[in-house]
């Protein structure tokens, strides 16, 4: 009886439970969660109206003049906007350019035959992913500052007697930041490729071995093509995040020397808003970023559907 009842219920889920007691009960329990989502994700969107007013902190919005799209027009006259966009794009593109390195790393790890060494490499290489940028900053500071470990070692070995300030180098700041990001993310990014490699059909490898292919040939003709689809999806996703160069990283690593070349869009929005106090213009720049990001996301999704037959979102 019970089984039959259960089976029947499974086959015919009630279409509309609006007037049933259970349905109402469920709805009442779910609504508080929807309210939390509304309060913390949707309500802030109403803040976008600040971009259309000449808002000054302290004066209520009802008493501030409506200026329409003036703030968006101002963006084109803003001399700081150009350099900030260049910084953002440069740092994003540099990190996209390093995207093949986790692939290479995953291939190298997958070629390791000793189990314990493989686990050691995987465990150590993912550690930096779990720590905050503040700790990365502290570690980098201990390594690279003028009295840090690297300078001391170089001095001791007689390679250099002039301490190099790596974190305060105006010309090399993009390279340094890209390498720091790579250090933090390479092991973690490789996990997904390693999983893709593990799932490759072993018959392909056996066939190649029978044909007498060497390891490099096998990697080039079997491993790499098999993880290419994963690589392309992640690449497309990173293109849609072009304007979201990591806020926290550049916030902690900024200093008087490199500030000019490290100020990315998110950092600029923060400086305009909280430090200069120009809430309206800052919000407008934020909206500009959001809109472009959404357009990019839909574009890569469209391209992906067209050329791969499936979207990425």
């Amino acid at each position: 009886m019970e089984l039959a009842h259960a089976a029947k219920k499974q086959h015919q889920p009630p279409k509309s439970g609006l007037f049933r007691k259970d349905g109402i009960k469920l709805l009442l329990m779910a609504l508080p969660f929807a309210a939390v989502a509304f309060a913390f994700s949707y309500v802030p969107l109403f803040g976008w109206i600040y971009a259309f007013f000449d808002y000054k902190p302290g004066i209520p919005l009802s008493q501030t003049p409506f200026i329409g799209l003036e703030n968006f027009r101002l963006m084109f006259d803003d001399p700081r906007m150009g350099p900030v966009l260049i910084n953002t794009l440069a740092l994003s593109l540099l990190s996209i350019a390093t995207a093949p390195i986790p692939v290479l790393f995953a291939v190298m790890v997958s070629e390791v035959r000793s189990g314990w060494f493989k686990r050691l490499v995987q465990t150590t290489s993912t550690l930096p992913h779990y720590i905050s940028w503040v700790i990365v900053y502290s570690l980098a500071f201990s390594m690279f500052s003028t009295e840090g470990a690297i300078n001391a070692i170089l001095y001791k070995l007689g390679i250099s007697d002039m301490p190099v300030n790596v974190l305060g180098n105006y010309d090399r700041v993009w390279t340094v930041q890209t390498l720091l990001l790579l250090w933090k993310s390479v092991g973690w990014s490789a996990i997904i490729y390693l999983a893709a490699i593990v799932s490759i059909d072993s018959e392909q490898y056996d066939a190649a071995k029978v044909d007498g292919a060497g390891r490099l040939r096998i990697i080039w003709h079997i491993t790499i093509p098999n993880i290419m689809p994963t690589f392309i999806v992640l690449l497309l996703l990173s293109i849609s995040n072009l304007l979201s160069a990591g806020f926290e990283q550049y916030l902690v690593f900024t200093n008087a020397i490199v500030a000019d070349r490290i100020e990315v869009l998110d950092l600029y929005v923060y400086r305009l808003g909280l430090i200069t106090g120009d809430y309206s213009y800052s919000t407008a720049v934020g909206i500009f970023k959001s809109v472009i990001s959404i357009v990019l996301l839909f574009s890569v999704n469209f391209l992906s559907k067209k050329f791969r037959g499936q979207g990425i979102v």
Binding site: H5, R20, A30, S125, S290
Partner: protein, 306 residues
């Protein structure tokens, strides 16, 4: 006659062997370099923090210079450190419990087809993954809610995470429906079924999400940085950040104490900095190898779903 026929394969195999050895040597070499590059900064901080602070100033490379836990004693004794540790620990534990409860209970409710507007509510929550109002709107909204200088700021905004809801919902949907049905016939309500059947059965995915949430909470500091100025609510991460930037009362106090001479003979700012870094890093370093498999599971599920 048979010699010319059998010779080439042998030569070829030898060539492959040689190439194989070279390949392995290169591979192991590069990976070993990578391990060292990853681990050395952590190791350096560790040996510096347990070195004798004065000896350490002359240089620490591979081994601690002398041995002393003085830096740890001084650091733990600094005003504010204990409070910050309690705040960090508190937000990690309470925040994780809240996130796990909200995401899992909501995901369970969403699997109930008899709920009216089920898919509308589900989509309403999921869409939040794809947009973000921006910095100033976020800042003003949190202020308007009165979350400035409030511990709730660390807990409430991260209570419901769309991504977690997807993961748990997918997991619950593949549990056998018969268990739930029989409990229902026995008269158990939704809450009861959730707490005594669905939640315990979902432990594998709950653990994954708890780990994600806990590491996230331990590492988050920007909410503290932008909206909480009350020193009683400072997190360890922010204490470290301020110390590195020499902007906190703590670092002023430290250098004051140091120049005044109470500690000057035994302690250095570098040692204190290394020690705080170690204290903030240690929980992660100790815990993450054990939890690595949950993380990997999470990222793989995310890859399949997302």
């Amino acid at each position: 006659m048979s010699n010319p026929a059998s010779a080439p394969p042998v030569r070829r195999r030898r060539a492959t062997d040689w190439k194989d050895v070279a390949f392995n040597a290169c591979n192991y070499f590069f990976l070993t370099v990578l391990i060292i590059v990853t681990i050395y900064p952590f190791y350096y901080i560790l040996i510096y923090s347990i070195s004798d602070p004065i000896e350490a100033q002359k240089g620490v490379y591979l081994w601690p210079a002398g041995f002393s836990l003085e830096a740890y004693k001084t650091t733990i004794g600094l005003p504010g450190i204990r409070d910050a540790a309690i705040v960090s620990l508190g937000r990690t534990v309470i925040g994780t419990v809240i996130t796990v409860f909200c995401c899992s209970f909501f995901a369970y409710l969403i699997t109930k087809h008899e709920m009216p507007f089920r898919s509308t509510i589900y989509r309403f929550v999921l869409v939040t993954m794809y947009f973000n109002a921006g910095f100033i709107p976020w800042y003003l909204t949190m202020k308007a809610y009165g979350l400035q200088n409030s511990f709730m700021l660390y807990l409430l905004p991260s209570a419901l995470v769309g991504f977690n809801v997807i993961l748990i919902k997918t997991f619950i949907e593949q549990l056998p429906a018969s268990l739930e049905e029989s409990a229902k016939i026995d008269g158990a309500g939704y809450v009861r079924i959730f707490t005594s059947i669905v939640f315990p059965l979902s432990m594998p995915i709950i653990a994954t999400i708890a780990v994600f949430a806990a590491v996230g909470q331990w590492n988050t500091w920007f909410d503290n940085y932008f909206l909480v100025s009350d020193p009683k609510l400072q997190t360890l991460q922010l204490v470290l950040y301020n110390l590195l930037n020499q902007t906190s009362n703590l670092s002023n106090l430290t250098s004051e104490q140091l120049t005044r001479g109470d500690l000057v003979r035994t302690m250095t700012p570098q040692s204190i900095r290394m020690t705080i870094t170690m204290i903030v890093t240690l929980p992660i370093v100790l815990v993450y190898p054990l939890l690595q498999r949950y993380f990997v599971k999470g990222i793989m599920l995310g890859a399949v779903k997302g």
